[in-house]
C-alpha cells in the first residue's frame, strides 16, 4: 500500500480506537467499583462537547505546547505505522511528554506546576525504559528499524520478556493509572483540579484528550510489536495488557512521585539491563 494512505488511515483510525478504549476503561472501572458507568461512546460525546466550547486560556503560549504535544504524538504514530526507526520514535515520544510539561509550566498556576513537575518525574521514570527497550530490540533483531522486527520469525516476547514486563510499567505510567497516576490528580480523583489539565479548557482540553488517545494506541502498538508475526497475536496481547492495567488501577492506591522513580530505576530498569546484558553475551558467543 502507498505509505501516504497508511499514514492517513492511521491518523484517522487511531483516535477512534483510543476513544473506544477510553470508553471501555470507564465502563470496566465503573463495574469494578460497583457503578453502572457511562455509555461506551461517552468519551466521544465529551470530546465533541469540549470542541464546541469557547476558547479560554490562562497563558498566551500554552496552546503552542499543547499543539506540539499532539503533533509529536501523531508523528510517533506515523513512525510506528511506517515502521521507521524505533529509537528515534522514543526520542520523539520523550519530547511529546516534555511539550505537555511545558504546557503546564507556561502558566503561573500552582496546580499546573504541580502537574508539570510530576510529569517530568514520569519522564525520568519511563524514558530510560523505552530507550532500553529499543536497545533490547536491537540486541535481538540487529536493527533499530521497526520494519526488521516484522521480518523476524520468532516473536520478540520469547527473548525480551523482562523488557516486556518493564514496558507494562510504562503503559501504566502513560495511561496515568494507579499506582503511577501521580501527575494527573491533585484533589483525589476529581476532574476540576487535575494537574496540568487544571488550566486547560474547551478546545484545548479536547486536543489533549485526543493526544492521550493517540498515546494509548501508540504505546499499545509498541507492545504489540513483541509478537509481530502474526500481528493479531500481538494486538491481542496488547489488548490483554490494557485490560490488565484497568484491574491494576483499581486494586492499587496512588504512590508518591519519588516512589515511582525509585521503583522504575531499581526494578524496571534493572529488568531491562539484565535482559540486554544476557543478549549481549549470547551474541558474543555467536561471534566467538
Amino acid at each position: 500500500m502507498n505509505p501516504v494512505w497508511i499514514v492517513i488511515i492511521a491518523i484517522v483510525v487511531a483516535p477512534f480506537i483510543g476513544g473506544l478504549l477510553a470508553g471501555i476503561d470507564r465502563k470496566v472501572t465503573a463495574r469494578l467499583q460497583g457503578r453502572y458507568g457511562p455509555p461506551l461512546l461517552q468519551p466521544f460525546y465529551d470530546f465533541f462537547k469540549l470542541l464546541g466550547k469557547s476558547k479560554i486560556a490562562t497563558s498566551r503560549t500554552q496552546y503552542v505546547w499543547i499543539i506540539s504535544y499532539l503533533v509529536f504524538m501523531v508523528t510517533c504514530l506515523v513512525f510506528l505505522v511506517l515502521q521507521l526507526d524505533l529509537l528515534l520514535l522514543v526520542f520523539l515520544l520523550g519530547f511529546a511528554g516534555v511539550s505537555f510539561a511545558l504546557a503546564g509550566f507556561s502558566t503561573k498556576s500552582p496546580y499546573s506546576h504541580f502537574g508539570a513537575n510530576r510529569e517530568l518525574l514520569q519522564i525520568l521514570s519511563y524514558e530510560p525504559i523505552l530507550l532500553l527497550a529499543a536497545l533490547g530490540v536491537y540486541a535481538q533483531v540487529g536493527s533499530f528499524n521497526i520494519s526488521e522486527i516484522f521480518k523476524q520469525q520468532t516473536p520478540l516476547l520469547t527473548s525480551l520478556w523482562p523488557i516486556f514486563i518493564a514496558l507494562l510499567v510504562v503503559l501504566t505510567i502513560k495511561m496515568r493509572k494507579s499506582p503511577f497516576d501521580i501527575a494527573t490528580s491533585h484533589h483525589g480523583h476529581q476532574e476540576l483540579v487535575k494537574g496540568i489539565m487544571t488550566e486547560i479548557s474547551g478546545p484545548y482540553y479536547a486536543l489533549v484528550t485526543l493526544t492521550e488517545w493517540y498515546e494509548l494506541v501508540l504505546v499499545l502498538g509498541i507492545i504489540s510489536l513483541f509478537w509481530a508475526n502474526p500481528l493479531w497475536v500481538g494486538i491481542l496481547i496488547a489488548f490483554a495488557a490494557f485490560i490488565l492495567e484497568l484491574f491494576v488501577d483499581n486494586i492499587n492506591a496512588r504512590m508518591t512521585g519519588g516512589w515511582m522513580v525509585r521503583f522504575c530505576w531499581a526494578i524496571a530498569i534493572v529488568f531491562c539491563v539484565l535482559n540486554i546484558l544476557y543478549l549481549y553475551f549470547i551474541n558474543m558467543k555467536g561471534v566467538l
Partner: protein, 663 residues
C-alpha cells in the same frame, strides 16, 4: 594565498591583533580590530577548507627555538603564580613539567633533535573541521564580547578599564587553538596546549575576585596534570624508541597504531595523552575546573565551552582513536559514558543557569569521548557531528545566558521566571537554543541518536547513555519551564539589543537551522572525510537530505544480515517541528478577552493582569512559584562522593590495565 600565509593568519594574526588591542586603549578601535580579525579568520578558515590536506614545516629553525623559549617562560610563569598565590598544587604541577622537560632537553641532550621534528603541521579534514569551528564560532563570540565587556565594566563601575588585557587573552586564545589542532609535532602541540591553559587561567581570573583567582588557579593546576602526562608520554616515546624523535609526531603515532609496529609500547603514551585530553575536556573527576570557570565574564565561558579549550580535549582523544588498543577504547568509552551520565544527573539539581550549561557541556563532552572510545565509523561520525553542533548550540546558549545576565543582572534560574515577558526576544532565542540541545530534528539529538545506535558494542556505556538521555530531557525542560512561566499582562515590548549582541546571536541561531536541516549534505561533503582521518570510511550514511545508516555499520547487524540499521528523516522532522511549534506561534493568537486568571481556589485578587491572591484576613499576597530541583536525590552533596569515587576508580582501572599490558 600560500599555505604559509594561511597558517600565519590562523595562528599569528590573533596574537598580533591581541597585542594591538592591548596597546590601543580605545573602545571603538578595539571593536574594529576585533571585527576585522574575526572576518579575516573566518575567510581564512574557508581557504583552509578549499586548500585541503597538506603538511608544512617552517623553513627556519628559529621557530623551534622560539617555541622552546616560550615553553620555559610559561612554565616559569606558572611557578611564579604558584608561589605568589601560595597555591602549592599549581607549583607542584608546574615543577613536574619543567624539571623533566629541562632534564630531557639539556640533561639527556635531546634539545637539538627536538627542535627538528617534522612535519610541524599536518592539515587534514579533521583539523580543517576544527579550524572552522574555532575560527567561525570563536570569532562570533569575540565580536559579542566587544559590547558585553563594555556593559560588564559599566555595571561593575571599574575606574580603570581592564578590557585591553581581556581582549588580548581572548583573541590570542583563537590563535593558540588553531595552532593546537593543526600541529603534528608533539612539542608544538604541547606548546599550544600550554598556551590555551595559560589563556584559560588568565581569562577565568580576569575579574580578580578571590573566587575568580581560586578558580583560575584550579583550572591551571588541573590542566597542568594533563601537561605533565603529555611530557611523560613524549619522554616515554623518546626513550623506548632508542632516543629517537621518530614517534614524536601525531601522524607517526597514529601510523604505528594502525600497523601495530610499536606493539604494546604504544599503549602507555597513547593512554597518557588521552588522559591529557580528557582532563581538558573536563571529564570526571576533573569536572571542577570547568564548573569553576563560570565565574569569568560570560564570553569566556562561551568560548571555553563551545569552540575552544574543551574541544581541544575531545579533539586529541578523537585524533588518537586509531592508536587505541581495543581494551583502552572500551575503558575510554566507559569513562566518557560515566561522565555523560553523572553530569546529566547532577545538572538536574543546579539552580544557576550557567552551572546547568556547564554540566550539560561536561555531559556532552563525555558523550563525545565515549564515541571516540567506541571507535567505529558510526561512532566517530557521531562524535564529529556532536562537536560541530555542540559548538553552535552551546555557543548560542552561553551568549543568551550573557544577554539575560545583562538584563536581569543575575544568573539564577529562579530570577529568570517569566523572562518571556520581560525580554521576549532573548527568551525566544534562548528557548530555540535549548530545544536545539534535545529536540529531534536538531543536530545534537541526531548526534546522540547516532551514538546510541553505535554504542551497543560496549553495553555498560549503552546503559549509561540511556539513563543520561532521560536526565538530559528533564533538566532542560525544568529550565525552559521557568522561562515560560508568565502571567499574561496585556501588552509587552520587545527589548532592543546592541548589534554586537544580536549579530552573533542571530548568526548562531541561523546556524542551528542551516546545519540542522542540511546535516546530510554537511556530513557527506564535509564530515565524512574527517571521519576518514580517524577510521576507514566504508559506508555512506547520508542519502539526499536524510541520514540512513546501513546494516553493515555495526558488527551485530552485519552478522544478522540486516539491510538497514536505522533511519533519520531530517527534513520531514523539520516539517513536523514547523507544524508543531512555528506555525501555531505564527497563526494562532489569543485575543485579550480570551484570557482568564488561573485557578486559585477562588482566592485570586483581581483579573488576568494580577498574580496576587487573598491570604489570611484577606491580605493581598503575591503568588510565588518555585522550580523543583530534586535537591534530595540529585544534589552535589548527595552524589559527589560517589561520583568522585567511581570516576577515580575508572581511571585507576584504565591505567592499571594499560600498565599491565605494556609491561
Amino acid at each position: 594565498m600560500s599555505l604559509e600565509w594561511m597558517l600565519a593568519v590562523a595562528i599569528l594574526l590573533p596574537l598580533i591583533a591581541g597585542i594591538l588591542v592591548y596597546l590601543i586603549r580605545h573602545y571603538q578601535t578595539r571593536g574594529l580590530i576585533v571585527i576585522v580579525t574575526a572576518v579575516v579568520l573566518i575567510v581564512n578558515s574557508i581557504y583552509f577548507l578549499r586548500w585541503g590536506p597538506d603538511t608544512f614545516t617552517p623553513g627556519s629553525p628559529m621557530w623551534g627555538t622560539i617555541i622552546t623559549i616560550l615553553d620555559y617562560a610559561m612554565l616559569l610563569f606558572y611557578i611564579y603564580v604558584g608561589l605568589s598565590l601560595k597555591n602549592w598544587l599549581v607549583l607542584l604541577f608546574a615543577l613536574t613539567q619543567v624539571i623533566p622537560l629541562a632534564w630531557w632537553e639539556f640533561g639527556a641532550g635531546a634539545s637539538t633533535a627536538l627542535e627538528k621534528i617534522s612535519p610541524a603541521f599536518v592539515i587534514d579534514q579533521l583539523s580543517i573541521v576544527m579550524v572552522m569551528v574555532i575560527s567561525i564560532i570563536g570569532s562570533l563570540i569575540c565580536v559579542y564580547a566587544i559590547r558585553y565587556m563594555y556593559d560588564h565594566e559599566e555595571h561593575k563601575k571599574l575606574e580603570k578599564s581592564r578590557q585591553p588585557r581581556f581582549f588580548f587573552w581572548l583573541v590570542m586564545f583563537l590563535g593558540a587553538m588553531n595552532g593546537l589542532v593543526l600541529a603534528d609535532n608533539l612539542m608544538w602541540l604541547y606548546f599550544f596546549w600550554e598556551v590555551t591553559t595559560l589563556c584559560c587561567f588568565q581569562l577565568i581570573a580576569h575579574d580578580l575576585t578571590k573566587e575568580a583567582i581560586n578558580n583560575g588557579a584550579r583550572a591551571l593546576w588541573m590542566n597542568s596534570i594533563g601537561g605533565t602526562a603529555m611530557v611523560a608520554a613524549m619522554m616515554y616515546l623518546y626513550f623506548t624508541n632508542g632516543n629517537s624523535v621518530d614517534y614524536l609526531t601525531l601522524s607517526n603515532i597514529i601510523e604505528a597504531g594502525r600497523n601495530g609496529s610499536l606493539g604494546a609500547t604504544l599503549m602507555l603514551p597513547v593512554a597518557l595523552m588521552c588522559f591529557t585530553g580528557m582532563i581538558k575536556a573536563a571529564q570526571m573527576p576533573f569536572q571542577n575546573w570547568l564548573l569553576g570557570a563560570m565565574v569569568a565574564p560570560t564570553p569566556v565561558s562561551a568560548l571555553l565551552h563551545s569552540s575552544t579549550m574543551v574541544k581541544a580535549g575531545v579533539y586529541l582523544v578523537i585524533r588518537l582513536a586509531p592508536a587505541f588498543d581495543p581494551v583502552l577504547g572500551v575503558m575510554v568509552a566507559i569513562c566518557g559514558a560515566f561522565t555523560f551520565f553523572a553530569a546529566s544527573v547532577l545538572a538536574i539539581s543546579q539552580t544557576t543557569g550557567k552551572r546547568v550549561l556547564a554540566y550539560s557541556t561536561i555531559a556532552n563532552l563525555g558523550l563525545i569521548v565515549a564515541c571516540a572510545g567506541i571507535n567505529t565509523e558510526l561512532s566517530i561520525s557521531a562524535a564529529i557531528l556532536l562537536i560541530i553542533f555542540h559548538a553552535i548550540s552551546k555557543g548560542l546558549l552561553f551568549l543568551c545566558a550573557g544577554t539575560i545576565e545583562h538584563q536581569i543582572w543575575s544568573r539564577e534560574i529562579e530570577d529568570m521566571e517569566g523572562l518571556a515577558e520581560k525580554a521576549p526576544l532573548t527568551t525566544f532565542i534562548t528557548i530555540t537554543g535549548m530545544l536545539s540541545m534535545f529536540l529531534p530534528p536538531f543536530g545534537m539529538l541526531l548526534g546522540k541518536w547516532m551514538a546510541l545506535e553505535a554504542v551497543y558494542v560496549v553495553p555498560l556505556a549503552a546503559i549509561l547513555f540511556v539513563l543520561a538521555s532521560a536526565a538530559t530531557m528533564v533538566f532542560w525542560a525544568k529550565w525552559l519551564g521557568r522561562l515560560l512561566q508568565v502571567t499574561p499582562r496585556l501588552g509587552r515590548k520587545i527589548e532592543s539589543l546592541s548589534l554586537s549582541y544580536t549579530v552573533p546571536l542571530w548568526s548562531l541561531f541561523a546556524g542551528i537551522f542551516a546545519f540542522g536541516i542540511g546535516v546530510a549534505p554537511l556530513y557527506d561533503k564535509f564530515v565524512r572525510a574527517a571521519v576518514g582521518n580517524v577510521v576507514t570510511v566504508q559506508h555512506a550514511f547520508a542519502e539526499g537530505w536524510n541520514i540512513l545508516i546501513p546494516g553493515a555499520a555495526t558488527t551485530l547487524s552485519a552478522e544478522k544480515g540486516i539491510e538497514m540499521l536505522g533511519s533519520y528523516p531530517v527534513w520531514p522532522l523539520f516539517i513536523v517541528f514547523a507544524v508543531a511549534i512555528v506555525l501555531p506561534l505564527l497563526l494562532v493568537s489569543l485575543k485579550p478577552q480570551e484570557l482568564r486568571p488561573v485557578y486559585l481556589c477562588g482566592e485570586q485578587a483581581g483579573d488576568v493582569d494580577t498574580d496576587e491572591w487573598y491570604g489570611a484576613a484577606d491580605q493581598k499576597t503575591k503568588l510565588e512559584l518555585g522550580g523543583y530541583y530534586f535537591k534530595g536525590a540529585a544534589s552535589e552533596e548527595a552524589l559527589n562522593t560517589w561520583v568522585y569515587l567511581i570516576a577515580i576508580a575508572l581511571f585507576v582501572i584504565m591505567f592499571g590495565i594499560v600498565v599491565g599490558v605494556s609491561l
